[in-house]
């Protein structure tokens, strides 16, 4: 009797396996109530910004953009931290991680799959919010344009053109898109960093608490870094402390361009590219660090 042995070749890295974990993570996350609560809250905030904006005549587009982009930033940052913080501790508690890793799934693939799942969820959320934001902004812009045309029907052509140009330039414009992309990159960075923290944390509460501190310190990192590099009279202890802050934490202020975009500043392509590269660089490094810690974790 001849026995045919079928050799199945096991690849050290498989995109199909990563995709399976990614989709599984996405499904898990979309089944959570917290996701819907946050998303509905963010969409409501963006929708209601139109009423908030009406509280202040003349500034309505600026307030509308501030509130909407702020809601997007808060929601994506919160979702990135909350959704990621629970992944590994929950998998360990439910013993899902043992089932996955018992199969020939390298730990790096598990980490990448989990990360990609959250990033996909964030991308879907930001797309939904952007669509809502653009619809609100466009609707309001059209209304204001019609009102302006009606009110200034008798005005000279030059004045009317100036008024219409003013409305158009302060409402929907292409400069908003790089700002939204940078909000997403910041959320990606926070996701990777949360994943890294969660690889050595034992509970998700600990991870969330640490990430809240990192979030605040990250926004102050630039101040600490510049003081460390420029101030030569500081004491040794102060310099060491500042150096640690500057070296360990990411500069989150670098991703806060929306404050300037809403007041009409255009983001040069070079600056956008550098910020995007920095975001991708942070995300990659924190993911690799997470994979390194997870590789040595006793399960």
């Amino acid at each position: 009797m001849q026995v045919e042995i079928i050799e199945t070749h096991h690849r050290p890295f498989s995109l199909a396996r990563v995709s399976a974990i990614t989709l599984n993570t996405l499904t898990e996350l979309t089944r959570q109530k917290v996701f819907y609560i946050l998303l509905i809250f963010a969409l409501l905030l963006i929708g209601s910004s139109i009423f908030m904006a009406r509280l202040s005549f003349q500034h309505e587009f600026q307030i509308l953009k501030d509130v909407s982009l702020g809601a997007m930033s808060i929601f994506t940052s919160l979702l990135a931290i909350i959704a990621t913080a629970r992944l590994i501790p929950q998998d360990t508690e439910d013993r899902t991680v043992y089932t996955i890793l018992a199969k020939p799934v390298p730990r790096l693939e598990y980490i990448l799959g989990r990360l990609a799942g959250v990033l996909l969820l964030l991308a879907i959320s930001i797309l939904l919010m952007t669509a809502m934001f653009m619809a609100v902004l466009y609707t309001r812009e059209q209304t204001v344009l019609h009102e302006t045309l009606r009110q200034m029907a008798a005005a000279p052509r030059e004045q009317l053109d100036d008024a219409l140009r003013g409305v158009r330039s302060s409402a929907l414009n292409v400069d908003l898109l790089p700002g939204i992309a940078i909000i997403y990159l910041k959320a990606c960075l926070l996701t990777a960093l949360t994943l890294f923290v969660s690889t050595f944390a034992t509970t998700n509460i600990f991870t969330i608490a640490v990430m809240v501190f990192i979030y605040f310190i990250g926004h102050l990192q630039a101040t600490a870094r510049e003081y460390w590099l420029q101030e030569t009279n500081a004491s040794l202890i102060a310099r060491i402390f500042l150096a640690v802050v500057a070296l360990i934490f990411p500069d989150l202020q670098a991703f806060n361009l929306i404050d300037d975009i809403v007041v009409g500043a255009a983001i040069p392509l070079g600056l956008f590219a550098k910020t995007a590269l920095l975001g991708i660089f942070y995300t990659t490094i924190y993911t690799l660090l997470a994979a390194f810690v997870f590789q040595g974790k006793e399960l």
Partner: protein, 252 residues
């Protein structure tokens, strides 16, 4: 233990690698006048602890909007001191928002100053005028600081020119700032005309005003507006311009 040391070494090495990129980006932000806010104790005292934390966390513009809406409410209640206090916070948090500077100056120069002059609780006219002038000065200061923060935008130069024209009756300064606005990209066409109109009211500068108004007149029908023609005719008479060089009487 070795793994922990290795991890720490990797984190620090990453820190050293990212430092030049972060600094380069920071410098570019400075160059483009982004991150225009210094987070210091003065700001902390101005905006309170919660506002400061929110501003630190990347929600500077939302905090500014909340203060702006509060300022709007204070204006409706004619609480002028509070309006100024809140607008100072708003403009500190969002120094590149032209409308905030403009609105703050408008409240001080046009609303608070009129309220101060008509203040029935103050029987002495001299003190009411003094209070009015203090509000003019606040408006001027706001616009000057706004210009310092946004030197490339024409709107605040125009607003400062209007303040000089309507409140200080200083036509020379008004003309100067209308001209500065006109020289910037994105300025409305009328500011160049306004600069010439204001100059036409300045004694000893009539010749210069005439040249500028005539230049505008020669640019074509679009510029030949009633005020321009009236001022040009007035200067032609005053400067005794020869008949053959005057604009046609049909324009009168």
């Amino acid at each position: 233990m070795t793994r922990v040391v290795l991890l720490l070494a990797m984190v620090l090495a990453f820190g050293v690698m990212k430092l030049p990129a972060e600094r380069a980006l920071f410098m570019q932000h400075r160059q483009l006048r982004f991150r225009g806010v210094e987070f210091n104790l003065d700001l902390r005292q101005q905006i309170g602890q919660l506002g400061f934390i929110a501003a630190l966390s990347g929600f500077r513009s939302i905090v500014a909007d909340i203060f702006f809406i509060q300022a709007h409410v204070a204006w409706e209640r004619t609480e002028w001191g509070r309006v100024f206090f809140l607008f100072r916070q708003v403009t500190t948090l969002q120094p590149h928002a032209i409308l905030f500077w403009d609105m703050a100056a408008w409240h001080m120069g046009w609303n608070a100053s009129v309220a101060a002059l008509n203040d029935r609780t103050q029987p002495r006219l001299a003190l009411r005028i003094k209070a009015q002038r203090e509000y003019f000065a606040l408006a001027k200061d706001l616009l000057q600081r706004g210009i310092e923060n946004n030197p490339e935008k024409p709107q605040l130069y125009e607003s400062l020119a209007r303040l000089y024209k309507d409140k200080y009756k200083d036509h020379a300064r008004a003309s100067e700032f209308f001209a500065k606005a006109a020289a910037l990209p994105g300025a409305p066409r009328y500011v160049k005309r306004f600069s010439a109109y204001e100059l036409s009211y300045c004694e000893d500068r009539e010749r210069e005003a005439y040249e500028r108004l005539r230049q505008l007149y020669d640019m074509g029908e679009d510029e030949r507006l009633p005020t321009l023609i009236t001022r040009l005719k007035f200067l032609e008479d005053k400067l005794n311009i020869p008949q053959d060089r005057r604009i046609p009487d049909t324009e009168r």
